[in-house]
Amino acid sequence: MKLHRLTDHALAAFADYLNTLSKLPSAAVPGGLLTAPQNAEVVAPGLEIESEVFSSRMEAASYLDSILSQVSGTDIQRDVKLWSWLTVFYFDQVCPARQDGDRIVGAQRAKWIPEVEESRRFYRHAILGPYLAYRAHRDAPTRASVLLSDPMHITTSEAFRLFIETTFINMKGPVELATEFYFNPSTRKLRRGAGTKGAGGLRRYIGVLQQLDVTFDLHRVGVVQLKKLLPSEFDKWATSAPGR
């Protein structure tokens, strides 16, 4: 299928559908939103997108990056209608129906229609958010495994939120070390205890990074140096990280 963006009319119809889902969770996605001429316009002639099933947000972001990097002359990351079309296109993955047929959309519309101007909400979009995190680490995506290993419909990862709400999302050393400390590559999940609020946990890791960021240019601080700068409460991760 050709990559499209929604029209104004279709964007409004999609927003209405989300409101309907809040009251009637079994409501079907309106037909024709993806391709009907009044609902969608082609982004770039000849640019096709497949309806693939992704195992993780990382895989989805990687695939979309390969598609969207072929688009020029438009500010992709701020194209609300494009991201909304992608939401509809992958709706069964980002908002899957339960066994009883109901879909749970929740109260946050920014998850489905991105609020690109809102610095506290733009990254909450179920597809744009992972795409932005992936773009920051596209040179070595596994570095960001701790951020993007959830399935498409899980949008509540604390690791993702903590990083993307700060400038650390773009920093190789801090992200790589977080993956080394807190991510279990065997289970593709956070390691036990990573999410604790106390000493050595992810939240504390971000807090310490914020303190170090005042003194150091953390873009230049690699994993080895960063480990030395961290207080001893993180030693347990350094010595017990999987694969060592």
């Binding site: 506290r120 990254y123 993307i164 005042v214």
Partner: protein, 260 residues
């Protein structure tokens, strides 16, 4: 989470006069930039590394600019801002970092540096509340707290630049915006430092101090909260008095202006 920026390592603040960023639009439509840096008065080690970062929200590019003694800007095409399709909201950061015993130690930094295009006049003021267009539905304006300070979002369905500059709009919006921003700083972020002007919160508090509001209260206790609310009110009132907003508003009404 707000972090107080204690300058225990003698980090220097690079002034905007010493870091000018000029944007160009290339023939292929890409933005690129030229930087003019003057670091001579900062007493920095000659071998310290210089970096320029361009950023907007999570989008980020970083450029190696050589050293303090031997600036070495990337070649023309390598200064293309390929990650940014427009200059909206684009800001720059200059970092000078140590290469000695503590590599990566931040020796000097200038943040929130705006760019200008060749035809623009240099703007040496640091806007406390820059306006920006936004899709706000039926809402006219709102404050957005970005990492580098608040933005005044104005509905992009309006001629937002013109609207935001009218006395009618300013007289109605600015006092409320000031209350909102100062409330965020004192009561939510619990920040009362007004000296580290690198920090947007300190710049806002310093602005209120300059209006004659007095030093901001502490942020620790419930009593402080009451005092903070009074201080915020006082700052907003002084702002209105300084700019005679009621007079401007009446003048607009007399001229039949409706603010658009």
């Amino acid at each position: 989470m707000s972090i107080r920026r204690i300058n225990s390592t003698g980090r220097r603040r690079i002034l905007r006069d010493d870091a000018q960023i000029l944007l160009r639009t290339q023939s292929d439509g890409h933005l690129s930039f030229d930087a003019s840096l003057d670091l001579t008065d900062y007493e920095l080690p000659s071998d310290a590394s210089v970096y320029i970062e361009a950023y907007r929200q999570t989008t980020f590019m970083r450029f190696d600019y050589g050293t303090v003694a031997l600036p070495h800007p990337p070649a023309g095409n390598d200064r293309r801002l390929t990650e940014f399709a427009s200059k909206d909201g684009l800001l720059f950061r200059i970092k000078v970092t140590s290469v000695g015993e503590r590599p990566g130690l931040l020796l000097a930094e200038g943040d929130g540096i705006p760019s200008r295009e060749e035809q623009d006049e240099p703007d040496k003021r640091l806007p406390l509340l820059p306006p920006a267009p936004a899709d706000l539905g039926q809402e006219i304006w709102k404050i957005d707290f970005a990492a580098n300070g608040p933005l005044l979002l104005v509905n992009k369905q309006l001629d937002w630049k013109s609207v935001a500059s009218t006395p009618m709009f300013r007289s109605l919006v600015f006092p409320s915006a000031i209350r909102q921003v100062l409330t965020q700083i004192l009561l939510i972020d619990k920040e009362s430092d007004f000296e580290d002007l690198q920090n947007w919160r300190a710049r806002w508090l310093a602005f209120a101090v300059a209006l004659g509001a007095g030093e901001p209260p502490g942020t620790a206790s419930e009593e402080d909260e009451d005092e903070a609310l009074e201080w915020i009110d006082g700052a907003a009132e002084r702002f209105c008095a300084t700019h005679s907003w009621l007079t401007h508003y009446i003048g607009e009404l007399d001229r039949g202006g409706h603010g658009a």
